[in-house]
Amino acid sequence: MAALCKAVCVAKRGAKLARISCRSLLAFGKLYSTGDTSEFPGNKEDTPTAEKKLSGFAAAFELHSGLQQKHDIAAGTVGKSPGSNEHSFATLLKQSPLVQMGTSKDKVAVGKIFHIVNNDLYVDFGGKFHCVCKRPAVDGEKYQRGSRVRLRLVDLELTSRFLGAKTDTTLLEADAVLLGLLETKPK
């Protein structure tokens, strides 16, 4: 109750100040446009301040939505066609599946077989390296070049530092467990 009275008093004082500043502006014959005050000239009624001069949450909302619009336009994500290539590298990276995935351990991915050597399947799942999996015993003939398979990723690059070495030794391969063929939903 006390807080409400205080708020009302502040509002009234605010209205008085607004009218005084408005009159002084007119007296001097100049108008310094500072946002809301440009709407004041000619209006000397005792209107509630909530309509003319926003305060509290409303003012904060206006301020932040304005800032957000400016940021969006500057970043180039607003007002451009959906198919445009204007995104920065940082944005592309942030929104890429690799980064969105997080750690690769135990994540399920879909890969495509691009090479087969006897029973070894070379599967490319979109990472830097491909993975090599053994042809499974069940449905073995269905795994051909171009087939899409499900994998459980273990590591994106198999590297290890051996004793006495300056840099890691890399196998130029990723590590994944083959879960099976990609099952398409029956139509």
């Binding site: 590298f89 994106l156 590297t159």
Partner: protein
């Protein structure tokens, strides 16, 4: 004699005209940041494989995997392709070198398609430095060597990088996060292990060289006709 003089003036124009423009062959329209990103050019090796001199080209490291800065790659690639185009325009010999067995066939067929040369097999020690003895006197060495991977099969720097520097042959090279970029004239930080990335580089080099050669033919016709008419 007047015809000879006119021809000389024409040929000077052919050679000097491209040097007046920063992007005479309009190579910036051949690739965009999105193309490089979709081809996985920004993916590097694990942090333990990093070469100290590649740190300047890295955007950062995400979960132990280095990420190359594609903004820098765009600039370097533009300069490298521009240089390649100028060399091809002036009828230079371009040699593509890579010891990555996965892409040997792709690189050799690309070199054949643009009328240039490739060496993706075992590199004999004195190929550049001992060429006069190994191939006979008066052998013409390449005017540009393009490395699609600067490492050999044991993860050491390819001998040709050092030898080209010894023989004053300019080099363009795709350097991954585990490579040494210091001896290359035009290093291009980028992924050299993924299929889509190498296919993209091959496509770009092939288009650049074909464009440059076509432009040369056009300019010869243009300035050849002009000097005849004058």
């Amino acid at each position: 004699m007047a015809v000879g003089l006119l021809k000389k003036v024409g040929s000077d124009k052919i050679l000097t005209e491209p040097l007046k423009h920063p992007d005479f062959f309009h190579l910036s329209e051949l690739f965009s940041l999105k193309d490089l990103f979709d081809a996985r050019v920004h993916l590097g090796h694990k942090i333990g494989c990093r070469h100290r001199l590649m740190e300047q080209y890295l955007f950062g490291c995400r979960l132990e995997q280095d990420i190359l800065d594609l903004d820098q790659t765009m600039e370097h690639l533009q300069q490298a392709l521009n240089f390649t185009a100028h060399v091809a325009y002036r009828r230079g010999i371009i040699l593509f070198v890579s010891r990555n067995r996965q892409f040997t066939h792709l690189i050799e067929s690309m070199a054949r398609d643009c009328g240039e040369y490739a060496h993706c097999r075992y590199w004999q020690g004195g190929l550049l430095t001992n060429a006069n003895v190994q191939y006979g006197k008066g052998v013409r060495l390449p005017d540009l060597i393009v490395f699609l991977s600067t490492l050999n099969n044991v993860f050491q720097q390819h001998v040709a990088v050092r030898d080209a520097a010894k023989m004053n042959i300019p080099t363009v090279g795709i350097v991954d996060s585990n490579c040494n970029p210091s001896l290359l004239t035009y290093p291009v930080p980028g992924n050299d292990d993924s299929g889509p990335a190498v296919e993209l580089y091959c496509k770009l080099f092939r288009m650049t060289i074909n464009r440059a050669k076509d432009k040369r033919r056009q300019m010869e016709i243009l300035y050849g006709l002009k000097s005849q008419n004058d």
